[in-house]
C-alpha cells in the first residue's frame, strides 16, 4: 500500500516545478541540515508526535508521503487525523484540462481511511461532465464525515450544470444530511434547487455562515428566502439579482439575524432588453441600519439600455463593477446614489468623456479608494482634478493609457507627474502592448 501511495503522490506533485525533482534537490540540503544537527547532538527519531505533527502540517502531501516511508513513527504521524482535515480534490480529464488530477488511488485511500477526518473540502473540476460526476460520486461516499466547509468549483466551463440534476442533488444532500454543522458552502454554477436548500436548512441552520450560489438557475426567490428566514448566523451571501427581493433584505435584517458582512449580487442579462425589478430604498435602509458595516458588491453585465431601473434611489453599494459598456447617464446617477462606494470599475463607456461624472463621484463618494477604467475616455484635466479631489485615499488607481485624452493643460507625458504628486506616490497609467 505504501508503495502504491508513493506513486500516487508522484502524480500529485507533478506539474511545472516537478515536485519529484525538487525533493531530490532538497535532499542535498536536508543532508547538510542533518549533519549540522548531528553536530549539535540532536536526533530526528526522538521527535515527539506533537512536534512531528507540527512539521508535517507545513509539508505538502508529497513530502509527507515520502517522510512516512522513513519509519514506523513517521508513518503513524502521516495518518494523524489533524493532517486530513482539509483536502482539495482536483478532478480533471486529460481531454479537457492541462492540469493533473488527484490520483484515483489516493481518493480511494482517503475515502477509506480518512473520510471521517475531513472537515474542509473542496472540489476543483474541469469542464467535462465526467469530472463533475466524479466529484458527486465522491460526495455520495462521504457518509460518515461532518464537513464544515464545502466548495464545488468549476475551473473552466460550469460542468455541474451538465450532469443529471437528480444525481447532483442526491450527492449534495448526502453532505447536508450528514454534516449537521456546515458553515460555508460555495456552490456557484450548479443545479442546486429549492428542495435541496430546504434540506440544508433543516440540518445546518444553526451553523451556516457563508453561502455562495451565483448563477444557480434552479433556485427560486422562495428557496433563498427559506435560507434567510432560518439561518440566522448567515454573514456572507452571493447570488444573482433575480433572487434578490425586498423580503430577502428584510429577512436578513431581522433582529434575530447576525450582522451581514458581505452581500454579492451579480446582475446578468439573459437576453437583450430584459426588464429588471427594483428594490425599495426602505429595504436597503433597513439592511444598513441592521448591518452598518456590510459590504454590498455588485457586478453588472448588462446592455446599456437595461440599466434603466438601477441607480434611481440611493443604494448602499460598496464595490461596483461594470463588465460591459455603461452610459454616461448611468455613471452620473452612480455619483448621486452611491454614497458608500469604495471601489468602482468601469470596463467600457461610450465615446463621450466622463469628466463631470468622475468629478461628481469624487465629490459625493467620500469613501472611494479604488477605481479602474478600461475603454473609457476622460480628459487629462478632469482626471487630474478627480485625483486631486480624492487625494491619498485613492489606494488603487488603474487607468488604461488610452483612456486619458490630452487637452490644452496636460500632455500624456506630464500626467504621471501630476497624478503622482496628488497621490503622494509614483503612479503610471496601465499600458497594453502595441503589437
Amino acid at each position: 500500500m505504501k508503495r502504491g501511495l508513493q506513486e500516487n503522490e508522484q502524480e500529485e506533485g507533478g506539474g511545472p516545478s516537478g515536485g519529484y525533482q525538487k525533493s531530490i534537490k532538497w535532499s542535498t540540503k536536508q543532508e547538510e541540515e542533518e549533519k549540522e544537527l548531528e553536530e549539535q547532538g540532536a536526533s530526528w527519531e526522538c521527535l515527539p508526535q506533537e512536534i512531528l505533527l507540527h512539521i508535517f502540517q507545513y509539508l505538502p502531501l508529497l513530502d509527507r508521503a515520502y517522510a512516512s516511508l522513513v519509519c514506523r513513527g513517521w508513518n503513524q504521524a502521516f495518518h494523524m487525523p489533524e493532517l486530513w482535515r482539509c483536502f482539495e480534490f482536483e478532478l480533471n480529464q486529460p481531454a479537457s484540462s492541462y492540469l493533473k488530477a488527484t490520483h484515483p488511488e489516493l481518493i480511494k485511500q482517503i475515502i477509506k481511511k480518512h473520510s471521517n477526518h475531513l472537515q474542509y473540502v473542496s472540489f476543483k473540476v474541469d469542464s467535462s461532465r465526467e469530472s463533475a460526476e466524479a466529484a458527486c460520486n465522491i460526495l455520495s461516499q462521504l457518509v460518515n464525515c461532518s464537513l464544515k466547509t464545502l466548495g464545488l468549483i468549476s475551473t473552466a466551463r460550469p460542468s455541474f450544470m451538465e450532469m443529471p440534476k437528480s444525481h447532483f442533488i442526491s450527492a449534495l444532500t448526502v453532505v447536508f444530511v450528514n454534516s449537521k454543522s456546515l458553515s460555508s458552502l460555495k456552490i456557484d454554477d450548479t443545479p442546486v434547487d429549492d428542495p435541496s436548500l430546504k434540506v440544508l436548512v433543516a440540518n445546518n441552520s444553526d451553523t451556516l455562515k457563508l453561502l455562495k450560489m451565483s448563477s444557480c438557475p434552479h433556485v427560486s426567490p422562495a428557496g433563498i428566502m427559506c435560507v434567510a428566514d432560518q439561518c440566522h448566523g448567515l454573514r456572507e451571501l452571493a447570488l444573482n439579482y433575480h433572487l434578490l427581493s425586498d423580503e430577502l433584505l428584510i429577512a436578513l435584517s431581522s433582529e434575530k439575524h447576525v450582522h451581514l458582512e458581505h452581500l454579492r449580487i451579480d446582475v446578468v442579462s439573459e437576453n437583450p432588453g430584459q426588464q429588471f425589478h427594483t428594490i425599495k430604498k426602505s429595504s436597503w435602509d433597513a439592511m444598513v441600519r441592521h448591518s452598518p458595516k456590510f459590504n454590498l458588491v455588485m457586478y453588472f453585465y448588462l446592455y446599456e439600455e437595461e440599466f434603466d431601473p438601477f441607480f434611481r434611489d440611493e443604494i448602499p453599494v460598496t464595490h461596483l463593477y461594470f463588465g460591459r459598456s455603461v452610459s454616461k447617464d448611468v455613471l452620473g446617477r452612480v455619483g448621486l446614489t452611491c454614497p458608500r462606494l469604495v471601489e468602482l470599475v468601469v470596463c467600457a463607456n461610450g465615446l463621450r468623456p466622463l469628466d463631470e461624472e468622475l468629478i461628481r463621484i469624487a465629490q459625493r463618494c467620500t469613501q472611494l479608494s479604488a477605481i479602474g477604467l478600461g475603454e473609457c475616455e476622460v480628459s487629462c484635466s478632469a482626471f487630474v482634478e478627480f485625483v486631486k479631489m480624492c487625494g491619498k485615499r485613492l489606494k488603487q488607481l488603474s487607468i488604461m493609457e488610452e483612456v486619458l485624452v490630452p487637452d490644452h493643460r496636460y500632455e500624456l507625458d506630464d500626467i504621471h507627474w501630476e497624478v503622482s504628486k496628488h497621490l503622494g506616490r509614483v503612479w503610471f497609467p496601465d499600458m497594453m502592448p502595441t503589437w
Binding site: E12, G15, P16, S17, G19, K22, K25, W26, K29, E33, I51, I55, L59, P60, C86, F87, E88, A95, S96, S97, Y120, S127, T149, G151, T155, A156, R157, S183, S184, D188, D189, K209, S215, R235, E236, E261, D266, V268, Y301, H319, Y321, G323, R324, S325, E343, V345, C347, A348, G372, E375, K395, S398, M400, L412, D430, M431, M432, P433, T434, W435
Partner: protein
C-alpha cells in the same frame, strides 16, 4: 591571402544597417550570402502561405539588390548544421558572419554552428542588429533578471546609452575588391524557390497585401515618416475605423523579418521629432512600437519555455479549458460574433491585423470568453501573422491573457461593444464578412438580436447563413472574471473584496514576481489551506472579519531573528549547491527553485 567569407542571412534580410554583412566583405577576397531553406520542412511546418510568400519575396529582393553589386544570394536547400561543413571546404571559407539571434533556440543553433566553424578553422563574427540594445546588458543592469514590467523596462532603457547608429548600406565602394563567384547553374542550384516548389497550392491565391522585401520596407518608412511629419503629432494615433485596415505605412512585418532595421527606424523618428518639435528631446513613448518588441525579446532571451505555460517560471498556471471545437470556430472565423470573425478573416487573408484587433481576439479566446489556453492562440498567430516572432508572439499572448507581467485583468474587451465603438458603421465587418453585408449598422455587431424581418431583408438568417454566437458573453465574462480574481488573489494572498487589489503588486526591480510566480508557491500543495473563499476554514475565519487574513506571510514574519539567520544560511547553501548543478542558462528556473527551497527551509526550521 584575403579571406573567403560567408554571410549567413536568417532574419536581418537587408543590405542597409547590416553590421555582420559589412564584416563579411571587409578586406575579403570573396563573399557569399547564404540563406538556408529546408524544402521538406516548408510544407509541413505550421507557417502559413502568406508568411512563406513574404519570406520568398524578401529573398528575391535581396537577390536583386545583390545582383546590382555583381553578387547573388545563395539559397541553400538543407539544414545549416549538415551543409556548412561541406560549404566551408568547397568554398575554402575562413570567415563566417551572421546577425545575433537573441531567442533561446537561435542561440542554441548558433552555438552549435560556431563550434562547427571553429573546428573547421573558420573565424566567426556575430553582430547585434535585430534589436536596438544588447539585451544581456539590460538584464545585467536589472540584477541578472529580465524586467517583468514595461515600466521597469523603460526605466532601465533610460539609463542605457542610446542605441548605436545604423551602419552604411552595402555598396560597391564597401565591397571593394571583394567578389562573389557565381556559377552558370546558380539559378538551378541556389535560386529562390517558388511557392509551388515548396508545395503550396497557389491557385486562387490573391495578391499580397503586404509585399515582402527591403525595397518595399524602405519605401514604407519614408511614407510612414512623411505622414507623421504631416500630422506633426507623435502621440499614439487614436483608433478609428480606418486604422483597422492594412496601411501602406505599416512596418511591423518588415521589422519582424529584418527588411527594416529597427535602428534606422529609431534614428529617423528621432530626427523627425527634433525637426518638428524644434530640438526638444524626444520622450520614450515616441519609440513605443520598437520598445515593446525589445521588451519581449528581453523577457524571452534566457527562457526556453517562454512559449509554454508549464515549466515557464514567469507564467501563471491557469486552468484553461481544452476545447478543440471551440478553438477551431475561433480560428476559422465561425464564432458568430461578427467583430471577432471579421478580424480572424482579415488575419487569414492578409496576414496582419491592428494591435487592438489582436487584443480583441486574444481576449475573446482566453480570459474573456472561451477560456482556452493562450498557447493555442499563439500557434494560430504563428501560422497566419506576418509579424509573429517567437518572443513577441508568446509574450503578447501571455500579456493579453493576463498570464504574466502583472497587469489588471478587469478589462475584458466586449466582442460586440468594442467593435461598435471603433467602427460604428460596420464597414469593416461588411468588407471581411460579405454574408452580413445587408445588415443595418444597428445590428451588424449582434445580428442574432435582429428581428426576423431584418434578417430576411438582409438575406442572412442567423443560424443558417451565419452562425449563432458560440457563447453567452455576459455569462462567460462573469465566470471568467471570477476565475481570474481567484487566481490572482491566490498569487497576491489578498483576501479582501476589491477586484483591483487582487493583482500582485510589483516591487522595485520589476521582478518581484519571481517569488509570487514561482511554481512551488503556486501549487500550494493539494492539501494546503488555500480555500480562501471559505469564511469558516481555519485560516480564513478571521480573514472574513478584517479583510486581510493572517496568511502564511505573517506567520513567516513571526520567525525569530535567530531562526531567520539560519534560514538565510541554509538558503545560501542551497544556492551554492544548485549553482553547481545548473548550467547558467537555467538561471531563471534556478531562482524559482531557490525561492521554493527558502520556503521549505522556513517551514522546517519554524519548529526546531
Amino acid at each position: 591571402m584575403a579571406p573567403n567569407s560567408i554571410h549567413w542571412f536568417r532574419k536581418g534580410l537587408r543590405l542597409h544597417d547590416n553590421p555582420a554583412l559589412q564584416e563579411a566583405v571587409r578586406g575579403a577576397g570573396t563573399v557569399r550570402c547564404v540563406y538556408f531553406l529546408d524544402p521538406w520542412f516548408a510544407g509541413s511546418s505550421n507557417v502559413g502561405v502568406n508568411r512563406w510568400r513574404f519570406l520568398l519575396q524578401c529573398l528575391e529582393d535581396l537577390d536583386a539588390s545583390l545582383r546590382k553589386l555583381n553578387s547573388r544570394l545563395f539559397v541553400i536547400r538543407g539544414q545549416p548544421a549538415n551543409v556548412f561543413p561541406r560549404l566551408f571546404k568547397e568554398w575554402k571559407i575562413s570567415r563566417l558572419t551572421f546577425e545575433y539571434d537573441s531567442e533561446p533556440f537561435g542561440k542554441e543553433r548558433d552555438a552549435a554552428i560556431k563550434k562547427l566553424a571553429m573546428e573547421a578553422g573558420v573565424e566567426v563574427i556575430v553582430k547585434i542588429s535585430h534589436t536596438l540594445y544588447d539585451l544581456d546588458k539590460i538584464i545585467e543592469l536589472n540584477g541578472g533578471q529580465p524586467p517583468l514590467t514595461y515600466k521597469r523596462f523603460q526605466t532601465l532603457i533610460s539609463r542605457l546609452d542610446p542605441p548605436e547608429m545604423p551602419v552604411e548600406t552595402l555598396s560597391d565602394a564597401l565591397m571593394g575588391g571583394c567578389v562573389t563567384p557565381v556559377a552558370e547553374d546558380h539559378g538551378e542550384k541556389y535560386g529562390v524557390p517558388s511557392l509551388e516548389e515548396l508545395g503550396f497550392d497557389t491557385e486562387g491565391l490573391p495578391s499580397a497585401v503586404w509585399p515582402g522585401g527591403e525595397t518595399e520596407a524602405l519605401t514604407r518608412i519614408e511614407r510612414h515618416l512623411e505622414r507623421k511629419a504631416w500630422v506633426a503629432n507623435f502621440e499614439r494615433p487614436r483608433m478609428n475605423a480606418n486604422s483597422l485596415l492594412a496601411s501602406p505605412t505599416g512596418l511591423s512585418p518588415y521589422l519582424r523579418f529584418g527588411c527594416l532595421s529597427c535602428r534606422l527606424f529609431y534614428f529617423k523618428l528621432t530626427d523627425l521629432y527634433r525637426k518638428v518639435k524644434k530640438n526638444s528631446s524626444p520622450p520614450l513613448s515616441l519609440y513605443g512600437q520598437l520598445l515593446w518588441r525589445e521588451f519581449f525579446y528581453t523577457a524571452a532571451t534566457n527562457n526556453p519555455r517562454f512559449d509554454k505555460m508549464e515549466g515557464n517560471p514567469i507564467c501563471v498556471r491557469i486552468p484553461w479549458d481544452k476545447n478543440p471545437e471551440a478553438l477551431a470556430k475561433w480560428a476559422e472565423a465561425k464564432t458568430g460574433f461578427p467583430w471577432i470573425d471579421a478580424i480572424m478573416t482579415q488575419l487569414r487573408q492578409e496576414g496582419w491585423i491592428h494591435h487592438l484587433a489582436r487584443h480583441a481576439v486574444a481576449c475573446f479566446l482566453t480570459r474573456g470568453d472561451l477560456w482556452i489556453s493562450w498557447e493555442e492562440g499563439m500557434k494560430v498567430f504563428e501560422e497566419l501573422l506576418l509579424d509573429a516572432d517567437w518572443s513577441v508572439n508568446a509574450g503578447s499572448w501571455m500579456w493579453l491573457s493576463c498570464s504574466s507581467f502583472f497587469q489588471q485583468f478587469f478589462h475584458c474587451y466586449c466582442p460586440v461593444g468594442f467593435g461598435r465603438r471603433t467602427d460604428p458603421n460596420g464597414d469593416f465587418i461588411r468588407r471581411y464578412l460579405p454574408v452580413l453585408r445587408g445588415f443595418p449598422a444597428k445590428f451588424i455587431y449582434d445580428p442574432w438580436n435582429a428581428p426576423e424581418s431584418v434578417q430576411a431583408a438582409a438575406k442572412c438568417i442567423i443560424g443558417v447563413h451565419y452562425p449563432k454566437p458560440m457563447v453567452h458573453h455576459a455569462e462567460a465574462s462573469r465566470l471568467n472574471i471570477e476565475r481570474m480574481k481567484q487566481l490572482y488573489q491566490q498569487l497576491s494572498r489578498y483576501r479582501g473584496l476589491g477586484l483591483l487589489a487582487s493583482v500582485p503588486s510589483t516591487n522595485g526591480n520589476g521582478n518581484g514576481g519571481m517569488m509570487a510566480y514561482s511554481p512551488g508557491e503556486q501549487q500550494s500543495g493539494t492539501n494546503n489551506n488555500n480555500s480562501h473563499w471559505a469564511a469558516a476554514s481555519p485560516e480564513s475565519e478571521s480573514a472574513s472579519q478584517n479583510g486581510k487574513g493572517p496568511g502564511k506571510r505573517s506567520r513567516r514574519a513571526a520567525l525569530s531573528t535567530k531562526c531567520r539567520d539560519r534560514v538565510q544560511r541554509s538558503a545560501l547553501k542551497v544556492l551554492k549547491n544548485s549553482a553547481l548543478l545548473f548550467p547558467s542558462k537555467y538561471k531563471k528556473h534556478l531562482q524559482a527553485e531557490i525561492n521554493a527551497s527558502k520556503i521549505k527551509a522556513l517551514k522546517c526550521l519554524k519548529v526546531i
